[in-house]
């Protein structure tokens, strides 16, 4: 009786290749050894530790970037920066401290204008929540934020270092906590955290693999073979990536490297276990060499098809519009290709070299042909006696998966670069302090540029527009013309301003409303309006700008949602404000995140529209069964959507609610879909082989469960454990990725492939029988 998980006999080509490899395994291994020594002599390439910036992700010509540049040109003074220093004392800052911080920023900016003393910071722009004058203030006189606007030519690290120096100077005054924060420090901190944890990640994933394979096979040699395959794959991959990086002139972003490494480790382990499981099953009835020949001949087509479909899957990322997603593709293709080559050209030789010692220290139980038989007969028994119970379970799992998949859009996608960081990091502490004192979006507000004419005489209309925008859910406050008066009213000084106005007011025909120089004494309103002129309204009156502070951290998915709502409601708000003929443009990081995420959504649809039919076609060619191929792909799509839906549901109900990190849907969809198809191939081949032997209905399901089930289960657990190690990187985005990938892999390999798929295949058998 053939108890191999791959009951189908190998293809002719695979038998030929297997024989050549097994016969010549020693020279092949020597060649591998020589190549490895050469690679080690060259050295292990290292990659940069600089994370991605939002600007790197944004599509070329994004209107938000153009508007921001335009605003700097029109108003000269940028009102948002991506690097800040925050000082907060919850008990209240001393007046002298606030004055010192404001004066210090003013002096710093003046010095920065001096061409002889130009630093990396062009402007230090401070604001404080003194008397809650500033919009979106939540506390009174507890916090000063200094926006550090960098020079365009200064690098990110230089700007971060300059912010550090600035923070050190502020720390000279011991009042409250001073922290360096903002998008740029957050991006660099993420990159450093990832680089610092890369080796831990590799060691942890290897340790997990060794443990699981050792326990599963009750062998020391199997984990050693797997570790050898992983080591060779990792080393080879690093060199391939370095070469590709040099040839294509593309840097490998630090966010990409851990994912690529884990994918390579997971994939090569899976493929190695395909071969080792097959050998283990064959060895119970045959000698070691014949078992190796049979195992390799049978697994080569499976590994080749699996690597091909996975390769197609990750290559589909090239269809994306977003450069960042496209940048993922070459690295992932390299990872899958290298893993496939190692699994097909190295692992069989190692198995041949080990011979009977593959299961060492355990001996192969040659007279144990019932191992698979017991599983087969017990599965058959359960299916026949408890058929309806199994059906209930299958239907319940399907209902659960469909329900979870329904929540796939529940959480918005976000960049989350600040909220991603550990709460005790300096950047996160600074952001928290700023959010406590103002609103969470204060560090990177959304900018609205109003284009029109005569806006310098339209203060009332701009104030009405400010009020309209403040009413939009998710907006914490708006800085615009009229904000100073509103701030004074908030501070309880509204009556005093009105009295002052009454006392100073002169007839309108005697005092031009513009309050230009030389017009005599000005009213309090004109004084207040004059404050905004030049800074918030251009002197020619053609442009005005409003700074919108959102109540969520600017890079999160929730803030991006608010930016979308803002964009949609602006035309009506402008109309209600009575600003005839005015047009409003949106800039800022939240709007940019919304654009990037929307672009990724479109990319995902485009990728799936190509990937799903392509995988269906490849599977149909490989399995020669359209219905089974469709079933494999459909279940993969369902599992992937369910994993993402469950993550989204968790985030919005019990999680932080910042949304899923922007790359998660695309990366998880492509990887889970491809990996699911891999397992589907294994189960599909087992089903075809069982059908070729005449099995139908329950017998077919039992055969599939007994032959492919254990292998799928172990590779699934191994893959899930490998992805779970990504959670060791203390960034929320990596934890989200780890949970989605591990959960998806476990559901796919423990429920969908060994249970749902065989049961659905039996339905087909029944229909045919009927």
């Amino acid at each position: 009786m053939n108890l191999s998980p791959y009951p189908a006999p190998g293809e002719r080509w695979s038998r030929l290749v297997a024989r050549r490899m097994i016969d010549h395994h020693r020279p092949i291994l020597l060649a591998w050894g020589a190549a490895l020594i050469a690679l080690l002599a060259v050295g292990v390439p290292r990659f940069g530790d600089q994370g991605m910036s939002l600007g790197d992700l944004a599509p070329a010509g994004a209107p938000e970037i153009a508007t921001e540049m335009d605003a700097v040109r029109l108003f000269r003074v940028p009102l948002n920066a991506r690097s800040q220093v925050v000082r907060r004392n919850p008990a209240g800052l001393r007046v002298s401290t606030i004055e010192g911080d404001l004066q210090g920023a003013y002096s710093y900016s003046r010095i920065a204008q001096d061409p002889r003393r130009r630093g990396d910071i062009a402007l230090a722009l401070p604001y404080s929540n003194v008397s809650r004058l500033f919009p979106a203030s939540r506390e009174t006189s507890t916090t000063t934020i200094v926006n550090l606007v960098g020079r365009p030519e200064a690098g990110l690290r230089a700007r971060e270092a300059a912010a550090g120096t600035y923070a050190d100077r502020m720390r000279d005054v011991p009042d409250g906590r001073v922290s360096r924060t903002g998008g740029i420090p957050a991006q660099l901190a993420s990159g450093r955290i990832i680089a610092d944890h890369l080796h831990t990640l590799e060691i942890a994933s290897v340790a997990v693999l060794v443990l699981i394979t050792a326990v599963w096979f009750r062998s020391v040699a199997v984990p050693l073979v797997v570790v050898a395959a992983i080591g060779v794959t990792t080393l080879l991959l690093m060199h391939v990536l370095a070469l590709a990086s040099r040839w294509l002139g593309v840097a490998v972003p630090s966010e990409v490297l851990p994912v690529v490494t884990v994918v390579a480790i997971g994939v090569v382990t899976d493929y190695a276990l395909f071969t080792l499981s097959a050998w283990s099953a064959h060895a119970t009835t045959r000698d070691a060499r014949t078992a190796a020949l049979s195992a390799v001949a049978e697994t080569l087509p499976t590994v080749a098809a699996a690597a091909f479909t996975t390769g197609i899957g990750v290559a589909s990322l090239l269809l994306a519009d977003m450069g960042f997603i496209r940048a993922f593709a070459p690295a992932l293709i390299a990872a899958v290709a290298v893993a496939g080559v190692v699994a097909m050209a190295l692992v069989p030789c190692l198995v041949a070299l080990c011979g009977d010692r593959v299961l060492w220290p355990r001996r192969v139980a040659r007279a144990d042909p019932m191992a698979g038989g017991v599983l087969r007969s017990s599965t058959l028994g359960v299916l026949r006696r408890r058929r309806a119970v199994v059906r209930t379970l299958v239907a319940a799992v399907l209902v659960g998966l469909v329900t979870c998949a329904g929540f796939v859009r529940a959480a918005p996608g976000g960049f989350n670069v600040v909220t991603d960081l550990p709460p005790d990091s300096e950047v996160a502490r600074g952001a928290t302090d700023a959010a406590e004192a103002f609103a969470a979006g204060i560090l990177s507000p959304t900018l609205l540029v109003v284009d029109g004419s005569g806006l310098d005489d339209e203060e009332a209309g701009l104030v009405r527009l400010t009020r309209e925008i403040e009413r939009i859910p998710g907006v914490a406050g708006v800085l615009g013309p009229g904000s100073l008066r509103a701030g004074l009213e908030r501070a309880g000084l509204g009556d005093a301003v009105t009295r002052l106005e009454d006392e100073l007011a002169t007839p309108a025909d005697a005092e031009p409303a513009t309050g230009r120089a030389g017009a005599g004494p000005r009213s309090a309103s004109d004084v207040l309006a004059g404050v905004s002129r030049g800074v918030l309204v251009t002197r020619d009156g053609h442009h005005a700008r409003l700074v919108v502070v959102l109540d969520r951290e600017a890079y999160t998915g929730a803030a991006a949602d608010t930016a979308r709502r803002l964009r949609a409601e602006l035309p009506a708000a402008v109309e209600r404000a009575g600003l005839e003929g005015a047009r409003v443009r949106v800039a800022g990081d939240s709007a940019l995140v919304a654009r990037v995420v929307d672009g990724l959504d479109r990319d995902l649809v485009r990728i799936l529209l190509v990937l799903v039919p392509l995988q269906l076609g490849v599977l149909t060619v490989f399995l020669r069964d359209l219905l089974m191929s469709a079933l494999i792909v459909a279940l993969s799509v369902l599992t992937t959507a369910a994993a993402l839906g469950a993550a989204a549901l968790y985030d919005v109900t019990a999680g932080p609610g910042d949304g899923l990190v922007f790359f998660l849907p695309v990366a998880a969809a492509v990887l889970l879909l491809s990996i699911g198809v891999d397992y589907g191939v294994l189960v599909g081949r087992a089903a075809l082989a069982a059908r070729a032997r005449g099995a139908r209905g329950d017998a077919l399901a039992a055969e599939v469960v007994a032959t492919a089930g254990p292998t799928v289960a172990v590779v699934g657990v191994v893959l899930a454990a490998t992805f779970a190690t990504l959670a060791l990187v203390p960034l929320d985005s990596f934890r989200q990725f780890a949970v989605v990938m591990s959960g998806g892999a476990l559901v796919d390999t423990l429920l969908v492939r060994p249970l749902i798929m065989p049961m659905l295949l039996t339905l087909r058998g029944e229909r045919h029988a009927g």
Binding site: R387, A388, V389, R391, T392, L393, V394, A395, A396, L398, V399, G400, T403, C404, G406, F407, A410, A411, P473, G474, D551, R552, T556, A558, D561, T562, L649, D651, V652, T653, A654, G655, P656, G657, D658, G659
Partner: protein, 186 residues
């Protein structure tokens, strides 16, 4: 009119909670006492026959109630309200199909959907009681901790939704088990 509608829906919620308690007591009694099993046999038979339809009816009332709350009473649905709607609305249609097909294993399997919905409702009730635990997504727009109604000292909208989900799940489980015992088609 608005007060009457709120009172009516809250009262229906209390009736549904009594039905949940009744079902649980009956199930417990049937599990431990043959006499009780005999006594409730006619009711159980009815439940087997009509349980899925009853569940569909409960879901339909819940859907109508939620639409009335948002469209007529003017209560803006929060983030968690929308998630519960995403479960309840398809459920109402799915249960009609389940009732028509009348396979006991399908009736049982369909109970997964209301159980997921009940989990979301439970979280929503928790957020109402502990606004500090509100996730950030809940703080955008209408906060999830806002209690639009508070009848009888405990009936809020998520309590009503949770009650409907639990009642639907119990009806489906009970109906499925009775159908199985009655030898309904597989």
């Amino acid at each position: 009119m608005r007060d009457f509608g709120i009172a009516l829906l809250a009262s229906l919620g209390v009736v549904a909670q009594l039905a949940v308690v009744g079902l649980l007591i009956a199930a417990l009694a049937a599990a431990v006492s043959p006499a009780a099993r005999r006594a409730i046999a006619p009711a159980a038979a009815t439940l087997g026959e009509w349980g899925a339809w009853m569940a569909a009816g409960v879901a339909a009332v819940a859907v109508a109630g939620s639409l009335w709350f948002s469209n007529d009473a003017g209560f803006i649905p929060c983030h968690l309200c929308w998630l519960q709607r995403e479960v309840m609305y398809p459920l109402a249609f799915l249960l009609v199909a389940v009732a028509i097909v009348r396979r006991w294993w399908l009736t049982l399997a369909a109970a997964v959907l209301p159980l997921i919905g009940a989990g979301i409702s439970a979280r929503h009730v928790w957020v109402e009681a502990h606004p500090d635990d509100e996730s950030a997504a809940c703080r955008v727009g209408v906060p999830c901790s806002v209690k639009w109604i508070d009848e009888f000292g405990y009936i809020t909208i998520p309590v009503l939704a949770g009650t409907a989900f639990v009642l639907v799940a119990l009806l489906l489980v009970a109906s499925g088990l009775v159908q199985r015992r009655q030898g309904a088609p597989r």
